[in-house]
Amino acid sequence: MATVNLGAIKFNWKGAYNNSTAYVADDVVSSGGNSYVCILASTGNAVSNGTYWSLMAQAGTNGTNGSNGTDLTTVLTTESDIVYRDGSGLQRLAKGTASQQLRMNSGANAPEWFTADSAGFTRGTTTTPTLNPVGWGFGAVGSSDPPLPSGTSMIYLSFMRVSPNSNTNIGVQIGDSGGLETTGYYQQTIRHWGANANESTDGFYFYSENAGAEWQGSILMTHLTNNIWISRINVSNYSNFGGGMSQNITGNGYKQLSGELTELRFVADTGSMDGASAQANIIYM
């Protein structure tokens, strides 16, 4: 039996409707986002006229901020904007500045841009501490002493010319949001003169046995696990430089907090240090 090849059968696409064009049956045009097929030849009859046109395909609903879609153009208004969702809906985050990085904010509920330190550290306060009478550090006391941020795992305190006005322990007490802890430290130090050792249970302390000494050095604290912090003390007596006996103290210790570390204070055991010439800085990450 003979077969006839009809080839590809298709609509006769005419593009956008034009009221001056003569259309014949099976011509297809677009209008208002819809497609229409001509069912009766004519000229100048709009696609809304059902005598001449049948709806072939209807446009979808325009997206809006609602259940049937999202119109991002109402949220994103400026080049490089970013969109995110908060508790109520979509929000715009304006672009950051050059080299800024994206991170979650402190409430962990929205992204934000921040400028990272070039070394990758987030640095703490650099200041001349008021060491008398309560010490200096992070947490409470005043609005200038915010808590250390959650996730801090290393703290490096450096200082110079910190001078006690009596024989006393000097060093760091740490704590969680409930406050500074005054017990449970296991800090051992050795003074490199006379082979004298010292132990402290109430802070990461070293012992200054002579009032008037001016201590310079550092205390490094690193988080091990389960809120256990390891300390490393390394100081020397500035007032003896260039004469007198060289006095150096080194030591290690640990302390387990009951919660995440947020509080830290640089203090003297007797609560009194001369901060007139002292400088101190804390770097944390």
Binding site: V134, A140, G179, A195, N196, D202, D269
Partner: protein, 114 residues
Amino acid sequence: MYLSITGVKDNKLTKYQPFESEADATVHATKYNGFVVKDIGGNQEFWIVDKDKKTITQDTDTENSVIAKRNALTEIQRLEGSVTPRRIREMTTDAGKKWVEDVEKLIATERSKL
């Protein structure tokens, strides 16, 4: 200066937070089930904390006793450290021997304080 006392064990301070204002300290103490006192200064190691009366007092008798013993121990360590190998070598002389004997007497005096 005000303290929010949030930890006490056997009348000893175990946890606290200092504040510049009493109001701030009260907020903290309320949140962490503590109480507020005015900072009395001094060595916290020798504070007697009364949770019921919400007071802090300095145990000066114990402090003086403990500090005296610590100072004696420190002085003993210093004296012991002063007897260097050179001082021992010099004990072959009368002057050297006397020097070490004098140090021993000083150490004995300090030991009597312990």
